[in-house]
């Protein structure tokens, strides 16, 4: 039964039965159940990740619906992760989805992440991103970082000491308030995050390690930038 669900991906030459088992055994922490979180969660659930911990402390608002395609209008006012968990389970009832209804802070992040194998950044502010980055370094797990704005987005896989961490390359990002976002940007970058997650968990393809992808959807320009560790980084320098 499950093999039929995944048969199309199993036909991909690198995607072996062992890959699929790796996914089934994995726990992925999705930080943020918004625009990025919608695509990331949808595709990871569809692909068969065994446990998804999806974390957000917000309730669904009307203005979310231009890009947060995980939800329906009747979810307005509901806590997002509760609605998200139901939606993901209706797509794939064979996996576990754990809603984590909490705000990510330095004090709460370790509990929120729990025993996850991977953290995926679907956040909308750098304060919470830094918390996740520090938690990933503490737990020794990879941190897929992404951000979107307007028609653009960026994406990379942090896994120090092999790669930089977030604080190596963006040591201090000022608060940006409400970020305007076109729906498809969330879809493109969120889907890429899911893909990077699968690549990392299965050991296939060439994950964006040590490389930052900057994609501009409005002019259709893509840059891939090499990024390196800062040996004096306060977060990962000691690794």
């Amino acid at each position: 039964m499950e093999e039929n669900r995944y048969s199309r991906q199993l036909l991909i030459s690198d995607w072996s039965g062992e890959c699929q088992e790796n996914l089934a055994r994995a726990t992925v922490f999705i930080a943020g159940a918004g625009g990025l979180g919608s695509s990331t969660a949808f595709y990871l659930a569809a692909s068969g990740v065994g446990t998804i911990r999806i974390c957000d402390d917000g309730d669904l608002e009307l203005s979310n619906l231009n890009r947060q395609i995980l939800y329906q209008e009747s979810d307005i006012a509901a806590p997002k992760v509760i609605a998200a968990a139901e939606r993901l389970k209706s797509l794939n009832s064979t996996i576990n989805v754990v809603p984590v209804l909490k705000r990510i802070t330095d004090a709460t992040v370790d509990d929120c992440v729990g025993e996850s194998d991977l953290i995926i950044d679907c956040l909308d502010n750098f304060t919470a991103r830094y918390c996740c980055n520090a938690a990933a370094v503490r737990k020794g797990i990879p941190f897929i970082h992404a951000g979107i704005s307007g028609f653009s987005g960026q994406l990379t896989c942090f896994s120090p000491p092999e790669t930089p961490c977030l604080s190596c390359i963006f040591p201090e990002v000022p608060d940006s308030g409400i970020v305007p976002v076109a729906g498809p940007a969330a879809g493109v970058i969120g889907s890429l995050e899911a893909m990077e997650g699968i690549k990392l968990l299965c050991g296939i393809g060439n994950p964006l390690k040590g490389r930052l992808l900057v994609w501009e959807g409005d002019v259709q320009r893509t840059e891939i930038i090499d990024i390196a560790r800062d040996p004096e980084c306060p977060v990962c320098g000691s690794l």
Binding site: G32, G34, G35, L36, G37, D121, C122, L123, D124, N125, F126, A146, G147, I148, S149, G150, S152, G153, Q154, I169, F170, P171, E172, V173, P174, S176, V179, P180, V181, A186, V214, E216, V219, R221, E223, I225, D226, I227, A228, D230
Partner: protein, 92 residues
Amino acid sequence: MENNYRVISVQIKYLVNLADKAGRLSETAGFPSGSTLESVQKYLQQMYDIKLPDPGIMTVLNGRGWNQHPEKMNTPLADGDTILLFPPIAGG
């Protein structure tokens, strides 16, 4: 013999909102030989009122962040260098 008046040709790419500030997606700019990243800094300030360094703007020289070059803003420019400017993209 080194010609002190040689021009160093540098490509500058402006990404995301920096393209709006500069009014262009990219350009090729000439600098006198011996110039460093600091010269680019002055150029950007004069032409487009883009002030570096800025925690809201990432400056990348030949694929590496400016603060990962050992000489940072004093890193010398070479003919054919590429500089990218873009903001850390924060939304989700």
